[in-house]
Symmetry: C2
Subunit: 331 residues, 2 copies
């Protein structure tokens, strides 16, 4: 109902987005109204969508390359935790004012980096105008062998709870970017933490072990404790996490040692994009062996219990820890 | 990076969106991070996405049921024009402030109406907060027999150009809602035109004939002339549209007779969601017969020509018509 400017929607699409689709067989150079996914025998398709909004999910002065990278990363992370390999994605983006060519160039470079890292390509999209903050919605599609998608609902009492990688880096990285922690951290440590906030890495190496061994899995986006509680609720069970077993990077461990109150940020802050998995006891030896072979860092951090036990984080003495906001909620 | 409120993201999803997914086998009650599409032998999957923004695509005081209906409709329309039957959709939505339960209820009712009308259901989504206008992104997925997706690129010189239904109603409907035309139209005519703006109907009946007969097709969303020009460009050809042959509803014909300047709105205004098809001469008898059997209203409005002829709309004397904005562009 408003609009018109010089660059043109078609020009923007062809200049900045079509190169991201040039190796996607079903994208037809983004010249059509829709993209095509050739199905594969014996495989099903997993779809997920995440929307990110300036001021809410990223700071207004964020590097557009980082915004793009993260937008694709968080979707690929969802697919990984379901045992699915990302294949293609669609991008809808609302831009305000007259789009800055330099900003768009950096955005498309961020998507190009992420595509290379995650082995998926652009299938299609929509580019529109907004009167508000820049808003991106990425829908990613990935393949999983028929019947092998891993759900949140499949946990069983007695399952061991594992996480990949290290937890809390992104939340501490955001705090660092907002001015905290400089007195405790080396430049390198600060860089490590903020890097994990800016360009989270979906855990691609987890895909085969999730498929092969997990009763239930999900990626950690809204905070370890809150997401663990969601998985337990979906499985109609309870569970424990031993906070001392939560894996920390050197930088996070260093900061926490100087400032123990940061434990809340670490276990509830979110943006980890690690995989939380529930592994039945009898499969643990094979699971751990395959993780080693795959070079996948995992940590056993707790177990699944009956519903009546509730969902709890325990300290070294086995006492329940309390946090103000167990996980991120938009409303 | 901001907030918290009472209703909760999970509460909103379970109350307003989960009912839309209760008959989607792969949605798992929206309790998981991703949805599953069971593939079908001999079929491929077509995906499309459209983003709609308050103030840009709909007026701030619009009925939320209409917003929802249109958001799904425009995507299903894209699929129809590619010969694909909608199966499922994903919805990402950015809401500002504290979401009004009544607004959300009406929104979900609009999606429920559209689902029933278009025979598809919700697979998944994402609900986030925004500091700006309400923004929805709908990704729809539909099945098409292998190798049968119809493209913009397939037109051949000499193809007849057809459109379904009537053109211009939605653009006139928007003008009517903004205060124009009341002196020319009956209440019923105004209602008809504004209804087509508020709740466009994707042309489901066109799917089998598009698949069976069209060399090229697309849905008309940004205006007949501009979209026809895009199809010609994608096919590297030119073409003509005879403006006198463009099919009009009684209401549109009535308004145009009183106010001939409205022809621009009709052929360039957009939001028609009818299907533009290029049919090779030798298939026309069978095509027209099948359209009659299917109860599908079609009109022959022009033809595909060589590239050197350009893309033109002709008046009754065969002279080229000129319009200020041949189609809608966001930038």
């Amino acid at each position: 109902m408003t609009h018109k400017s010089s660059q043109g929607e078609t020009g923007i699409i062809q200049r900045y987005f079509a190169p991201l689709a040039e190796h996607t067989p079903g994208a037809f150079g983004l010249s059509d109204d829709a993209g095509l996914i050739a199905t594969k025998d014996g495989m099903e398709l997993v779809l997920t969508v995440d929307m990110i909004v300036e001021d809410v999910h990223f700071l207004p002065n964020s590097d557009p390359g980082d915004i793009a990278y993260k937008a694709l990363s968080v979707n690929v992370s969802d697919l990984c935790a379901k045992g699915a390999e990302a294949s293609v994605y669609l991008l809808s983006i609302a831009l305000s004012g007259t789009p800055d060519p330099n900003w768009l160039k950096k955005l498309s470079e961020g998507f190009a980096d992420a595509q290379t890292d995650f082995d998926c390509t652009l299938l299609g999209g929509d580019t529109v105008h907004t009167t508000g903050p820049v808003t991106l919605s990425v829908t990613a599609a990935g393949f999983v062998p028929k019947g092998r998608m891993v759900h949140r609902t499949g946990a069983r009492e007695g399952d061991r709870v594992y996480v990949t990688g290290t937890i809390g880096d992104a939340a501490l990285g955001l705090a660092f970017l907002q001015g905290a922690g400089a007195e405790f951290l080396s430049a390198e440590q600060g860089e490590h933490l903020s890097g994990r906030h800016k360009r989270p890495q979906p855990c691609l190496r987890a895909i085969p072990v999730v498929r092969a061994y997990a009763n239930a899995a999900m990626d950690i986006s809204d905070g370890l404790l809150g997401d663990f509680a969601k998985l337990c609720a979906a499985s109609k069970l309870g569970g424990f996490i031993n906070s001392a077993d939560v894996p920390l990077s050197d930088a996070a461990a260093h900061w926490l040692a100087k400032d123990p109150d940061r434990l809340g940020d670490i276990v509830t802050g979110g943006d980890d994009y690690e995989v939380l998995m529930c592994i039945p006891e009898k499969k643990i030896p094979a699971f751990e062996r395959d993780c080693v072979s795959a070079g996948l860092q995992i940590s056993s951090i707790g177990c699944i219990a009956s519903r009546s036990e509730g969902v709890r984080a325990l300290d070294n003495e086995g006492d329940t820890l309390e946090f103000k906001h167990p996980s991120y909620d938009h409303f």
